[in-house]
Symmetry: C3
Subunit: 378 residues, 3 copies
């Protein structure tokens, strides 16, 4: 937790979830509780969810709207951008200006809110710039959450990632997803040889011609990646019949079969952006053997349920896929518990993405440990 | 646990709960289980609830009546005052006189049973003497338990005390209690300046004139306190309309508006004694983040439910207040979990009692640690 | 766990539970999960339940039948006797012959499957030879499981054994069992003086005359024991009226009142073998204060429920006895938790078996610790 989750930038929520001033969401990771709140100026900020008096949580519910942030214990009252403005019956020498809420690093990146709990946050500018280019056609600020689901998988968060970063298991486990998503690792560049399928190259060219970037691009430390891939048989969305799930598109793309813009950013999120909708996944470690997965389906903010989309049709493929992934992850977790387990060999063709994730993890952790050792030595 | 709960005197039950010989209650705190039992001689004693043979618990239920204490495992049988009197088929050289139950320090203090788990118990005589004077009008031996409630608060026991020792939070959280209980810290001497309201002084004078002491008095180490305070608008009891809850009084006080005799004794209990009833609160740590709170409403032993009192009317204010306190304590516990928490400043006016509790705790703990260190050094 | 459960031979299941090729049972103890499976050659084997690829469990359910063992994650496929035969899209230099399942020591001992998780298994030949002689009349391979029950007792596994190894508690706790089972410790040789009742000697002589050994015999380290004892009043089985529970006998014994062949083998099992049925008990530690007890009632494989036996009649005595034992064990566990507990004296007459168990445990543990120390010193 210290070296990854309390240090890296973490995706929390799409900004369209808190559209108005005073709207807030409480995000919890490990021992931290953070209030993400939109200010009177429209800007989204993040604060530690703990009163500067006796430390009570300020926001008790996971989501809500408040004109000010008022502590439920003794009613100390803060502005939406942090300063303390009222504390009853405190002594004359009490300085309210020194008791504002403690801020947490927070960035609204093309409609996705990221926070960082570290004192000094890692450089996120390359990711911000790339997101701006790749996500522009998907217009996330004009979206709304059509549905969300949260499940807790009984597996370590790294197993959830290892499972996410390969489709070797898809044929045997994901009948619904395999109707539209290409199992071929070359379709997304997940093979160890880095080769991309010719269909992928042709698709990217077609999308870029209309201003939607799609070439595979990775972060400087392998910590994030974008790549646009066509779906099978010119499918338009992750539906059972391959047709769009939402008739009012949630992108500016001029054709429906734009495939999926896949994005991941370690350690907290992967996403799929399609012509008609976007699907954002957020992963939160609960314990060494439990991981929470929250999935949100975003559609255009003016799309109307029943008219422009049917909720079951929109969500059924990934609801099923998440449940199937949960089962394989849990079996994986149960199986590696035995002292008889020794890691086996990966398939170079199918499991290049797993190897990439493991390398990223090992590199971050060894860097952090080296830094700790150096600090201790000084 | 070692330095406080296994060392200090702890309130357990009102003695009226076990009126007859053989009546017992099992009290559990941390790893200890204690049988509190009234003997054939009418005296209340406490024993470790573990058979001297294989260690099974003797009393399986929380409460009951037995002519002897019989182990459920192999039926070894003990007198109510401890000695082993029967053990089947033991060898001729087995000495029953060496296998009596192990006693725990136990005192019946004006109708309230206190125990101490330490080898050597701290001096309790000043508390016994003060209790005799202050509790005499409340006649606890002639009471009965009209109702009891147990809740588990997800908060450390010290947070429960910090919350109890101030009424700064009352206005924002306790609408029912605030109808009768004075939020003003000077009413009970909870302000850091120690000033008492003139209403309080007048009330004490009126009570002392009829033989009911009420002046604020503290234990030699701040570990207990008694103070009698008038309720608001001459209210008689903690009811929604301020009138008595029990028409048959549970005190010898000659007027109904006698206010409340507040008492606390760290670490296990606070109480309210009124003209018509008494309310005793017992706190037991369950884990570092869980505390059990048991509340008992005592009325005159001859009061009849439905005729002399209505149970809802008697209990609703404190049932609600306990639930409200539970919520603020739980929010406090959740909020201080974050590494971003740093203790804020207390209000001198409202939170003098909190400061007093924290000082008591720090002093007991530092004393105990110093004693441990010295013992280790020797 | 390391010194006992991961080192000694453990009873797991009767072999009649997996009669056909491909039948398997998953047995879990501590951090280990083991597949016990019958091969195409009819032989029973045990393997660690973890794929050699990413470590997923192979068998997800507790019981089933499969022609091959196929990993649910990426469908790597193993023969029933262990070798890997298929792994999709692995590189040319991947050697399947080096990725067979990891075997666990496994013996079918007269119809009872034992495994051992240690690298090198302790000598089990004396137990195998004695079992062959004592169990021959009970024909376990031609049995079936008529009923099984699993309960979790909130007590350490050693307390479950201490309770099992004495009948001092029977009179006060087991009304149903005491109708047929002799409480007298001399009936089974459980008294510390080792004396056997004359009734026991006469009974053994009668059984041995028809080829059924019954004299008390112990393993070289006290780790197992067989002894045949008559039931009270010539009872035939553990039923409420003492008559047989199954009219089609599950033994070759020529008389119904053959008593019970008692067997235990530390640390995982005790058994009762009667003329009409066999009852096998398996104990598995779940945590320091939780023990799982699985009981299986075996009858002749051709016995038909409703015709040859009534399930309630067959099982009610031991279902009740297990529940009663659970209660005393849980009270024992709760009672010894207090620091005030000190072990009391055992009854030499009744608790010789407890003393024998404690000696066995102390001897195994001190041997293991000495071996560890020596290894550390080298």
């Amino acid at each position: 937790m210290d070296h990854i989750w309390y240090r890296e930038w973490l995706f929390t929520i799409p900004s369209c979830e808190i559209p108005k001033a005073g709207d807030y969401v409480v995000y919890t990771v490990g021992v931290y509780s953070v209030v993400i709140v939109r200010g009177d100026d429209g800007k989204v900020r993040a604060f530690h969810n703990s009163c500067r008096h006796r430390g009570s949580v300020l926001c008790k519910t996971k989501k809500g709207t408040n004109p000010k942030l008022v502590c439920p214990y003794h009613q100390w009252t803060y502005e939406l951008d942090g300063p303390l403005i009222w504390a009853r019956d405190m002594e004359a020498d009490f300085d309210v200006t020194k008791h504002g809420l403690k801020a947490v690093h927070c960035r609204n990146i093309s409609g996705l809110i990221y926070i960082c709990l570290a004192g000094e946050a890692p450089d996120i500018e390359p990711f911000v710039a790339t997101s701006a280019r790749y996500l522009a056609p998907h217009d996330l600020e004009n979206s709304k959450v059509a549905f969300e689901s949260t499940i807790v998988e009984e597996g370590n968060w790294k197993l959830v990632w290892e499972n996410n970063r390969e489709c070797y298991h898809c044929a045997g486990n994901h009948p619904a997803l395999c109707r539209t998503f290409p199992e071929d690792p070359h379709a997304v560049g997940n093979s160890r040889d880095g080769v991309l399928a010719s269909t992928q190259n042709a698709h990217v060219a077609r999308c870029e011609a209309v201003g939607a970037p799609g070439a595979r691009v990775e972060g400087p430390h392998g910590e994030w990646c974008f790549v646009r891939t066509p779906l099978l048989r010119a499918a338009e969305s992750y539906t059972m019949d391959g047709k769009v799930a939402v008739t009012k598109p949630n992108s500016t793309l001029p054709f429906k079969d734009a495939g999926s813009l896949l994005k991941y950013s370690y350690p907290a999120s992967w996403n799929h952006f399609l012509s008609d909708c976007s699907i954002v996944f957020r992963l939160t470690p609960i314990s060494p053997t439990e991981t929470e997965l929250t999935t949100k389906w975003l559609v255009h903010k003016d799309a109307v349920e029943g008219r422009d989309y049917d909720l079951t049709r929109l969500t059924e493929v990934w609801v099923a896929t998440n449940a199937e992934d949960r089962e394989v992850v849990e079996n994986n977790q149960r199986g590696i518990r035995t002292p008889a387990y020794e890691p086996g060999r990966y398939s170079d063709i199918h499991e290049g993405g797993v190897i990439q994730f493991v390398n990223w993890y090992a590199s971050v952790l060894s860097g952090a440990i080296a830094a700790s050792n150096q600090a201790a030595a000084e």
